[in-house]
Every structure is written in C-alpha cells, then in structure tokens.
Amino acid sequence: MSARRHALRVLAGLAAAALGACHGRGSAPGRGALVFRHPKLFGDPQPLDRLIGAFERAHGVSVHRETLPASSDEQHLYYAIHLSAQTREFDLFALDTIWVAEFAEAGWLRDLTSLVAHTDERDLYEAPLASARWRGRRYALPWFLDAGLLFYRSDLLAAHGLAPPLTWNELRHAVRRVRANAPGLHGFVWQGKQYEGLVCNALEFLWSHGGDLGAATHAAAQGLGFMRELVAGRLSPPYVTTLTEEPSRVLFGRGRALFLRNWPYAWNLLAGAGSLVRGRVGVCALPGSAGHASAATLGGWHLGVNAFSRRPALAERLAAHLAGAPAQKALALAYGYSPPRRSLYADPELTAARPFLASLGSLLDAARPRPVSPNYVALSQVLQSEFSAVLCGLRSPETALAAIERARLALEVA
C-alpha cells in the first residue's frame, strides 16, 4: 500500500509545482499593483502604456494591464462570473455601455458620481452619459464612443452623379443605378448574424423609420419590414445573416459592395495603407426615412471600478485620469477611437491629425443608447432571436415585435 501512497504524494507535489509555475510565470501582478482589464485595443499598445506610465509616476503605484477575450458576449460572461464571486483580481475595467445598469444594480460597481466635475457633465455627449447612469448615480466614466455610420464608395456614386443617400429610398435607388453597370456588386452590407451586433443594426432600421421598442409599433414594423426587404429584394447578399463587423468590413474593403454599415474603427482600415478602396470611401450618417431623422445605435466602452477592489481610491483616480480630456485626446490621436467629448471635436490638433474623426462630432451626438436596464442582456437574447427570425423571413415584424413587447414587460425593461 505504501508504494501507492508515495506515488500519489509525488503526483500532488508535481501538480503544485507545474501549476504554480504556470501561474507564477503568467501575468500575476505584484502585491500592491492596480489591475486594469480592457478589450483588445486595435493597434500599437505604446500610447496607452505611456498614459498609464504617467499615472504610475504621478502616484507611485504600478498598474498591470490585461486584455480580455474578444467578443462582448464572452467578456460579459467573464465579468459576470468573477464579479458575482466578488473577485479582487482586478480594480479598473472597461465595460460595454449596455452592462452598466446591470453591474450597478448587482452592486459590482463603485459609485463614481463624485468624480465627474460639472464642466465634464456639460462637455460629454448625452447618450454615453445616459448609459453610464443608473438610479440617478454615475457608475462609469465614458471612455470611447461608437455609433453606427454609413460607409459608401464615393467613386461609384460620383460616377453615377449620385450624392450620399439621406433616406433609405435614395440608398435603394443608388444601389439599382450602380448595379445596372456592375451586376456582381453587392448593394448594402451590414451585421446580420444572430448576436448583439444585429440588435444595433435592427434598432437603427427601426428608429430611422420613426419606430421604437414599446412605442409607435406600426413605424417599428415598417423599419423591420425594410430590414427584411433588404435581403428579399437582393439589396443585401443573402449571407448577410452570417456577417459580423469584420467580415462585412472585409467584403466592402475588397470592393465587393457599394454601401457598408459599421463602427468608426472601420475607417482606419478602409482608408489606411494597403486598403483596396483607399481614397474611394466616404462616410456619412445612416439614412433616415421620409419625415424621420437618421438614427445610430450608441456603442463604445466605459471605465468602471470594481466594487470589491482592494484599492478603490487609486482605481478611481486611474479611471478619472484615463477618461480625462487629455488622455482621450491622446487615445483618439493614437487609435482613431472617437472620444465622448464635444470640445475635442473642435480641437485644432485633433481635426488636423484626424479630419474624419472631427467630422463625426454631430453624428456621434445623435447616437441613441439601447434600453438602459439591469435586464437588458436578458432582453437582448430575445431581441437577437426575434430580429434574426424577421431577417430570415421566418416571422413577420408584427409577431416579432409582439414577442419582444411581452419579454420587455416580463423583464421590466424601461
């Protein structure tokens, strides 16, 4: 018997050593360091590290930065798991605009109202502020701003003497005109796969037809009907139902489509070096419809402080530092991500370096947040499957909107 017990003891020792080694060699932060977790920033990490370096020197504390798995769904799961277990593994983290109400209600976020000076209050765009507020208190600081935009092939439109479309009819008309001479060209590509991206796209169709969740359902039905018409009428390729941000951007970037709906990040790739459509792409607000203004869904990231952090005060100061105007200006210059501050859009240095970004000022101001509620993520599951069913022609807009309404009331989403 002793031989076996000895073997097990050796095994246990080996296990601890190997796992320890993995963990040790991994990115375990030092004892007192602040841990900052955020999604993968597209581009060179140096600018962000310089900003953090400045904070470290100013406060004599080391900050440990970690990036998280890609998609918003996976990050939501990761944070939900760990915060529900009251983890202390990180102090500051970037969270999607749609999580703030849920995390605040669950008591996972520190109240940051005191951090937002009145000057900031007026300078920040209304939509990001709204999505960072829950029960009248501010639980996150807007960091980046995203909004749905329309990218178009300026050369092809010009060749047919067409101006960028202001309404969805104008867009449909433009597609027919251009496609007459380029049949292989897709008309309008956007994000139709069954995931959060589809909700952003569908809400834009809905809002731009004057509809909304829970109100003006007839207009809302028209909006969803138009979405279905895009596929049924072959304005969009049938496999738009598999496209997310990148596949649609790659498709447009290879000159396979006339119009693209995407987030501001796409501009850098489409206008950058090595892009097939460099210099032949324009961007404008998404089209509206007769009598209804254009609408763009608000996206982007806020900074929140982990309620169970061991060093909340320092974490709050780091948040204020990274979400302050100077830092946001530096990040806008480095990564082309749009800051949520009106003043920066008039900043001469920024307008010179990033003219495209400067032009977005008014567009971003009009962005509309998705319903702000702790149960939004749960409602989103219903939105995703209902919108997908309408897009695939398996369900009429009316039945889908009715199902959404039932879910909305059941989940008490305002």
Partner: protein, 284 residues
C-alpha cells in the same frame, strides 16, 4: 474473491474513484435538480419556485425549437454515421497492406478537437471565399440560410464522428469468426446473402451499441455548433445545450437554466439507461 475481507478491500480500492465521481458528477447532478426548483436569477429575490420553471418550459417556444433541432440533429447524424461507418468498416476489413495508413487517416477526424473542426468547417462554409462554394461554382449561404445551417452542422458532425463508428463496427466485424462466412460461401451463399444472413445479424449488437453511444453524444452536442453558428440564424441551429448555456451564462438565470439542464439530463438519462441495460444483456 468473495471473502468478507475481499469485499471490504474491493470497496476500499474503489473509494477514491467513487469520491471524485461523487463530487464532480453525482453531487452537481443532484444540485442542478435542486437549483431548478429554486428562483436564482440576477435581480430576482431568491426563493422556492417549485415546478414553475418546468411549467414555463412547457410553454417556451424557444425550448421546443431547441428540442426539435436537437432530435433532428441526433437522428440524422447518427443514421448517416451508422450507414457510412458500416460501409467504411467493410472496406477497412479488406484493407490489406495499407491497413496502418488507412487507420491513421481515419483516426484524424476523431482526434481533431470539435472546436477546431467547427472553425475549419466555418472557413470551408464561407459563402464567397469558402472552398465548398468554390467547388460548387456559385456562392451558397451554407450557415446563413435557416434551412441549410442545421444540415451543414450535421455534415460536419458526420465527418467528425463517422471514424469512431467505423472503427467500432470494424472491431465487431473482426470479432465474427471468419469461417462462418466461409462456411456460408461453401453452402452457396452469395456475398449479399452472407452479408444479410450472417454478418448483419451478428453485427447487430455492436451496431446497437454504436447507435446508442452516438445518440447520447449527439443529444448533448454543444462545442461544435456553438462555435460554427452560435445557434443562429433565427435559432435554427440552437440545440438544447446551447439554449441552456445561453439562459445560464448570458441571461444569468440559474433557476430556469438548471431546469432546462434537468430536462436534458432526463433525455440523455433515458438513452444512457438503454445503453446500460443493453450492455448488461451483452455481458450477461
């Protein structure tokens, strides 16, 4: 070794395994049933929910859609795998010198992680630059068209799991004494009659084992489809596992999610019992 001492010794040797099995599968299984009777969702007061969740399942259209998808997926994939597997097994049985090479090739799909295989097929199913559309000569919306998506997932699973079935049936074929077929041939039976009268009946128990084994795996499929399509479009490829996972880990509704999991447990449990009884009948 039935002496009293031996019986004690046997359970002593088995205790570490039973302890680990208890904590990792038995206790969680019971715990999930208990969770399913309680209200345990974010922002809802916890409390006893009794059978509310199960009543809600009965009227949950998304559940019935997921159940339909799962059963359809399981039935079709297992049927195809058995048919193809039998064909391949018969071929493998006659593989002469190249046996090692062929076995190696056939083992590759089995060895590939299902997540990797899902990414591979996702790339092959790409509508425009995917190799399958290229071979067909025109873009096909494999994963984007509700009617096609589930069949695309079935094709992937058939490719991945047929080797396992083929090897199982091959072992079954090899267990049949060779002189039976020879005797039948001597008695004037043609290849087809030998197959139908001798090989098939004797192979039936192994076919049954392979069928039940694959059915259980197919009923609980998650990885492959979650990565291939995520359950879309329009929930056309959402299986019970994926729906339960979404409710548990995206809606963070542990009560209802657990109830879904318990229903799944029941379905695979019935299949598992069939397997256990079938096994005991075989071992006698």
């Amino acid at each position: 070794m039935k002496s009293h001492g031996a019986r004690l010794e046997a359970w002593a040797l088995m205790s570490p395994a039973l302890a680990l099995l208890g904590t990792i599968s038995a206790v969680p299984m019971l715990y999930v049933v208990w969770l399913s009777l309680g209200q345990r969702a974010m922002f809802r007061p916890p409390g006893f929910a009794g059978l509310d969740h199960y009543l809600r399942i009965a009227t949950d259209e998304r559940f019935w859609n997921a159940l339909g998808n799962t059963l359809y997926f399981a039935a079709f994939s297992v049927a195809l795998e058995l048919a193809l597997g039998l064909g391949i097994a018969l071929l493998l049985q006659r593989a002469g010198r190249a046996r090692a090479l062929v076995y190696g090739a056939v083992l590759v799909p089995w060895a590939i992680p299902s997540v990797v295989s899902a990414r591979m097929w996702e790339w092959m199913y790409h509508p425009e630059i995917g190799v399958l559309s290229y071979l067909l000569g025109q873009p096909v919306n494999w994963l984007g068209e509700p009617r096609l998506a589930l069949h695309a997932a079935i094709a992937m699973d058939v490719w991945k799991s047929t080797p396992f079935v083929a090897l199982l049936l091959l072992a079954g074929l090899q267990a049949i004494p060779r002189d039976l077929a020879r005797a039948a041939a001597v008695d004037g039976a043609g290849a087809w009659t030998v197959f139908r009268r001798i090989t098939l009946p004797l192979l039936a128990p192994v076919i049954l084992v392979a069928a039940v084994f694959r059915t259980i795996d197919a009923l609980r499929v998650f990885d492959a489809i979650y990565v291939l399509t995520g359950g879309g479009p329009a929930n056309s490829t959402e299986t019970l596992s994926i729906y339960a996972y979404r409710v548990l880990f995206q809606m963070l509704d542990f009560g209802y999610g657990s109830a879904l999991a318990v229903v799944m447990l029941a379905i695979t449990g019935i299949a598992a019992l069939a397997y256990a009884r079938l096994l005991r009948a075989q071992t006698g």
